[in-house]
């Protein structure tokens, strides 16, 4: 077995060593004593047969056996408890490190992996590695003790019969070896066909209106029936294969009994062996065969574990695109002045921003607007270095964001993103997301500023109200205002609002912004909005169009100019009128 794929997993060994070693120490008594009881039974049976053992002696021997059985039971418990426990502990550490690694990546670094995929790797694949390293190793070490032990005991009693017994042992190993690959192949085939079926089902259910509109029910049922039949065939083949394997195992076992019966019988008639020896062989056959079957499982576990470890390695191989500079520079004072210098950014070869430049002096408010897809959100992400800007393009307090320590950068610039994401926690915890240093007072103050306090007070449990699946669902506007409160509570010197009031009507948006005016006045602010009306607060406004700065100036100047800004303004006014009709 190659260790390559498991090298990361094995590096966890020192942490779980003690438990694991305890478990391995239990393997010896628990497996070794398996043979001891049949040996005692043989002794007693021989005594009974010969008639030279008193009932008292029988009872004494049985009591000794019972004692051994109890020791074996305790050891067996220890073995399972420590080894499985160690493997669970490994799993916990491993998953924890995987999570920490994932947290360093940005959504864009993992965009080619589906979230569901990451989740299944974090559960199913980690589990597969665990099974291989825990129970898998346990079964093998048991087999390593039991099988040779049984062979030695048998050889001491009747070497010829022991050699004959090798035939069923080797036969069983061969059966398992032969059956494993096709079984794996067909079980994979059934899994794939089942996945196809669920895709067909999912598509037809998602597209139920189209199915019905085109009266396509019969055709869809037909497709489904075909796939069902193909799954049926694969399942049946798998079942036949399993049946054959089971029958082969039965046959091998029965063959073992047959060998004991005939060869043993003949040896007894010859006088080379006694009935108690035959009895012993019969008992040991069952004990020694199952570890071999377990090794068969182990092979399957090994393959799944290896595949799982490889898939996990792919995740660990992902590198964060945004990393802290090797020698970060911290500005002497935090003032909050922003500058963008000739910034050009492309995504997948298509230009998103071209030659964008602007300056926001500390304490000023900048407005950014433009049509959908003009590059507003990308610009915001570059400011906060969620996406890596080219060197020498984005500066805060005169330092390139690429050279700033990430902690300083993100504490300085507070972004309220466009698609407000809240966590399934209490409202308090969501607003205090910035850290434990945010106390209740600050949460309340931030919520009041963001115009969400009254809404929160209206919930059954107020600020302790859980959000998400187990709690209330907020409206789009409530979510956005909560997100604003979350950023306000962090008290960043620079605050960026990325179209974060799109879900409320324009009047409410203006009200909220007006109320925020005080909070924004004491810091640098960037207000991004598709609504022109929201930008009247800004000292300076830039209008983006297809990634370029189309217009720039104050709100009034731009309106007077009659360009894109004025056009957007007119259109939004008609919309507002329509809403009122």
């Amino acid at each position: 077995m190659k260790v390559g794929a498991f090298s990361r997993s094995l590096s966890y060994f020192p942490r779980i060593r003690r438990r694991w070693m305890k478990g391995m120490l239990c393997v010896l008594p628990s497996s070794g004593l398996e043979i001891a009881v049949p040996l005692i039974v043989r002794e007693v049976y021989g005594g009974i047969r010969r008639g030279d053992m008193s009932l008292g002696m029988v009872a004494a021997w049985s009591s000794l056996a019972l004692l051994l059985v109890l020791i074996k039971g305790a050891a067996k418990f220890g073995m399972r408890w420590y080894i499985t426990g160690a493997s669970r502990e490994f799993e916990q550490h491993f998953r924890q490190d995987l999570f920490a690694h994932l947290m360093t990546l940005s959504p864009r670094d993992v965009s080619h992996v589906r979230t569901g995929d990451i989740m299944s790797r974090s559960t199913a694949d980690v589990e597969a590695v665990r099974l291989m390293l825990g129970p898998g190793v346990m079964y093998v070490s048991q087999a390593i003790v039991i099988v040779p032990g049984a062979l030695i005991a048998m050889a001491l009693i009747d070497p010829v019969l022991m050699l004959a017994m090798l035939v069923p042992f080797v036969g069983l190993a061969t059966v398992i070896r032969l059956a494993a690959p096709p079984t794996q192949r067909w079980s994979q085939a059934t899994q794939e066909r089942l996945a196809e079926i669920s895709t067909v089902a999912q598509e037809n259910i998602s597209g139920i209106r189209v199915v019905k509109a085109f009266a396509r029910e019969a055709v869809s049922s037909g497709d489904f029936r075909k796939m069902g039949t193909s799954l049926f065939e694969a399942n049946l083949r798998l079942a036949t294969l399993r049946g054959l394997t089971a029958a082969a195992i039965t046959a091998v076992k029965e063959f073992g009994v047959l060998v004991i019966l005939v060869l043993g019988g003949l040896h007894i008639v010859d006088g080379n062996m006694q009935p108690e020896d035959m009895f012993f062989f019969l008992m040991v056959l069952n004990i020694a065969l199952w570890p071999l079957i377990a090794i068969g499982w182990m092979l399957g576990m090994y393959h799944r574990g290896k595949a799982g470890a490889e898939r996990l390695e792919e995740l660990f191989a992902l590198q964060p695109s945004v990393q802290e500079a090797a020698e970060p520079r911290t500005p002497e004072t935090t003032r909050g002045a922003l500058e963008v210098r000739d910034l050009t950014h492309a995504f997948d070869g298509a230009p998103v921003l071209q030659n964008v430049s602007f300056k926001v002096p500390a304490g000023a408010t900048l407005g950014i607007t433009g049509r959908t897809g003009c590059g507003k959100t990308t610009l915001v992400q570059l400011l906060a270095r969620l996406i890596e800007p080219p060197p020498g393009t984005v500066f805060i307090d005169g330092v390139d964001v690429r050279d700033l320590p990430l902690d300083w950068l993100r504490k300085t610039i507070g972004v309220v993103p466009q698609d407000t994401f809240l966590f399934s926690e209490t409202i308090h915890d969501n607003i205090a997301f910035a850290g434990e240093h945010v106390d209740r007072e600050q949460v309340l103050a931030a919520a009041r500023l963001a115009h969400i306090h009254d809404d929160i007070e209206g919930f059954p449990t107020g600020y302790e109200q859980e959000l998400g699946e187990r709690g209330v669902t907020l409206s789009g506007g409530q979510r956005q205002r909560t997100a604003i409160a979350r950023t306000l509570a962090a008290r960043p010197p620079v605050m960026v609002l990325d179209d974060c009031l799109s879900a409320v009507d324009s009047v409410t948006e203006q009200n909220i912004l007006r109320q925020l005016r005080g909070a924004l006045a004491e810091r640098t602010a960037v207000i991004v909005s598709h609504r022109v009306s929201a930008l009247s607060l800004a000292d300076h406004v830039i209008v983006l169009d297809e990634g370029r700065v189309e217009e720039a100036g104050s709100h009034e100047d731009l309106l007077a100019r009659g360009g894109l800004y004025a056009e957007l303004h007119e259109r939004q006014q008609i919309e507002a009128e329509l809403d009122e009709l």
Binding site: I48, R49, G51, A65, L66, V69, K72, R80, G85, Q92, R95, L102, T115, L194, S198, A201, Q202, E203, N204, I205, V210, V211, A213, F214, A215, R216, E217, A218, S221, R225, G228, F232, N235, A239, T240, R242, G243, A246, A247, A251, V257, L261, V262, G265, L266, G271, P275, F279, A384, R410, P417, F421, F423, F433, G435, H530, E570, R571, Q572, E575
Partner: protein
């Protein structure tokens, strides 16, 4: 939670008997196979008794004779030879038995699975058949993922009931009874030992399964908490970064991960205790048997060979006892799955409630049928005088909610092109749902060619109408299949249709042409290309009424031109109802219906409506102001 509560049901309750009755509907065609299975199972159990019996015969027969002869010194070579051949003969008998046993095992496994899988195939087909006939409203209330799980995992759980569940439980119980009988028959007094300890084993294993299941449920819950946390942090990764909460998130994850670990360790403890306990108990039985057996042998009440036979039977009996509780779990899971599946089958279809037998018969009939249920010609025969479409004072609300559209009345004459315009949320899409009877009106009625839509079957109604949806739904099949939608359309006609709507322009250059496979939802095509395929699909259906929900998504100007041309071709010679966003479509319409907030506010031609200086006038100017060809898309976002 409620699902888990089902699992807790005691097997054998009244509801279960009802369920079993319904399962019988599916099992009935396989009665012969099931009977054979039971016979084979009995044979299996009985065949397993023979091996130990043969061993006893050898030990108490030739072996004992040899021993006695040796003691008496009467063991002649001739006697030895006859004893040897006796042993060999028993060997042959054993070989024969083993052969039958193996053959029985193969055949039994195959038969049980064939029956089970057949039943599953039928259940799956019936369920899917039924699902497709449920009203659209049902799907609004049930999550896609939930429904898919029913038709995959639940059908699978039910399958285990038929393949391994019932049969092996029967086998296990039968084995226990037969083996206990055999033990009693061999030595009634010796079996007292087993009778005292075996119930303890059964008790221990049921108790273990119960505890293990509870622990397992706890681990599943804590695992789902781990996953939910992971999923949220992955989705909100930007937020985590913005607030530098990477380490804090890891702490939060650590708490949940730790909890999962602890819950797992409870399960580990149960398992670690259970197997050694059962092992100790079985050894106690054996050692008790050994001691008591010694007494019986000393008193001459038991023979040496029979003692070994007894011992081997005892070893056989532990397995079914250990497994019984596990099987019971499979049984419960299958029953819970069955309840959910029958819950879906109980939901009334678009044509009302059907009983199970009827659904099964319909599914089977559909598999046999080669012709469509209703042809276009048959559907046309029902036509009466009247406009192509008439909405007569129609209102609609979801459940008890507020009206989505209220008191809407209008006619679309045969051959007329009617454009529907309005701001977002004006209720335009609802019109289409009501026309196709995806939903039924709350008040008022909808007529199609003079017939109330309620008097037409769904097939008759929908054959006449083709819908092009704004958000085109494509299946992950090839392009040809997506255009044909199951119609037996010749390749020639297929190409003709594609040409007519300009779809050939992008299909022909594709390396695989019409055989190009589309990814899920057609994600390997542009939105303009998806629309053209939807156009071809509608044209292929050759409908009398075209319902077109124009897409608002922006496409490049060349595709825009193709779409415009295709729209004209599609409407040619047909009655059409267009939810319009393109200025050209609106201006060229015979009639424009202006919807606002669920009401029909204005109706007339372009010039008439402009002259009104009302809503339409405003919408028109909004359109001009935006200049994006997007008159009704609402706020740009």
């Amino acid at each position: 939670m409620s699902v888990d509560a089902h699992t807790e049901n005691k097997v054998g309750s009244k509801a279960d008997r009802k369920l079993l009755g319904r399962l019988m509907v599916f099992a009935r065609p396989h009665v012969t196979a099931l009977c054979v299975t039971v016979l084979m199972l009995m044979a299996n159990v009985l065949l397993r008794l023979i091996g130990p019996w043969i061993i006893a015969q050898v030990i108490d027969g030739p072996v004992e004779t040899a021993r006695v002869a040796k003691l008496d010194d009467t063991l002649t070579p001739a006697l030895t030879d006859s004893l040897v051949s006796e042993v060999l003969n028993w060997g042959w008998v054993f070989l024969g038995t083993a052969f039958f046993l193996a053959a029985n095992a193969v055949f039994l496994e195959w038969l049980m699975n064939r029956t089970g899988q057949n039943v599953v195939l039928t259940v799956r087909n019936v369920l899917f058949h039924h699902l497709l006939r449920l009203p659209v409203g049902w799907f609004d209330k049930h999550h896609v993922g939930w429904v898919v799980t029913r038709s995959t995992s639940d059908v699978d759980s039910l399958s285990e009931l038929f393949t391994t569940g019932v049969a092996t439980i029967a086998k296990d119980i039968l084995s226990i009874i037969v083996l206990l009988g055999a033990l009693f028959w061999l030595s009634p007094s010796l079996s007292l030992v087993a009778v005292f300890v075996l119930p303890v084993m059964i008790f221990v294993s049921f108790r273990f399964r119960l505890k293990a299941r509870m622990a397992y449920r706890a681990t599943r819950q804590s695992l789902s908490r781990v996953n939910a946390f992971l999923q949220e942090r992955l989705t909100g990764l930007d937020v985590v970064h913005l607030f530098r909460r990477e380490r804090a998130s890891a702490v939060g994850f650590g708490e949940r991960n730790e909890r999962y670990y602890r819950d797992n360790m409870v399960t580990v403890r149960h398992f670690s205790l259970f197997f050694p306990t059962v092992d100790v108990l079985s050894q106690v039985v054996k050692l008790g048997t050994l001691t008591w057996g010694a007494a019986l042998i000393f008193s001459g009440d038991l023979e040496l060979g029979v003692f070994i036979q007894y011992w081997l039977y005892l070893e056989f009996i532990f397995e079914p006892i250990r497994e019984l509780a596990e099987r019971y779990n499979v049984l419960q899971a299958g029953i819970a799955a069955g309840e959910r599946i029958f819950g879906i089958l109980d939901a009334p279809t678009e044509n009302g409630k059907q009983d199970l037998e009827q659904i099964v018969a319909d599914t089977a009939a559909e598999a046999e049928r080669t012709e469509p249920l209703v042809t276009l010609a048959q559907a046309r025969e029902k036509d009466q005088s009247g406009p192509a479409i008439r909405f007569d004072n129609v209102s609609f609300a979801y459940g008890d909610g507020p009206d989505v559209i209220s008191n809407v009345s209008f006619d679309v004459q045969r051959g007329q092109k009617v454009a529907v315009v309005g701001h977002t949320g004006a209720g335009k899409t609802t019109l289409v749902s009501l026309l196709c009877r995806f939903h039924d009106t709350s008040r008022g009625k909808v007529e199609l060619f003079g017939n109330d839509v309620h008097d037409l079957s769904h097939a008759e109604l929908r054959r006449r109408i083709a819908i092009v949806q704004q958000d085109v739904f494509l299946f992950s099949d090839d392009i040809a299949a997506n255009v044909r939608m199951g119609e037996p359309l010749s390749d020639e006609r297929l190409h003709e249709v594609a040409r007519a709507v300009n779809a050939d322009r992008f299909i022909d250059p594709l390396p695989d042409g019409f055989a190009t496979r589309l990814l899920e939802r057609g994600s390997n095509l542009s939105s303009g290309q998806r629309q053209l395929i939807a156009f071809a699909r509608a044209l292929a259906a050759d409908p009398d009424i075209l319902v077109l929900d124009e897409a608002t998504s922006s496409v490049d100007s060349e595709t825009e031109h193709w779409i415009e041309e295709a729209t004209a071709a599609l409407m040619q010679g047909r009655t059409s109802l267009v939810i319009a966003h393109r200025l050209s479509t609106i201006i060229n319409a015979d009639k424009i219906l202006v919807f606002h907030k669920g009401e029909l506010r204005e109706a007339g031609t372009h010039d008439e409506l402009l002259a009104l200086k009302g809503l339409y006038h405003k919408l028109y100017h909004l359109h001009l102001a935006s200049g994006t060809g997007d008159a009704a898309a609402g706020t740009a976002r």
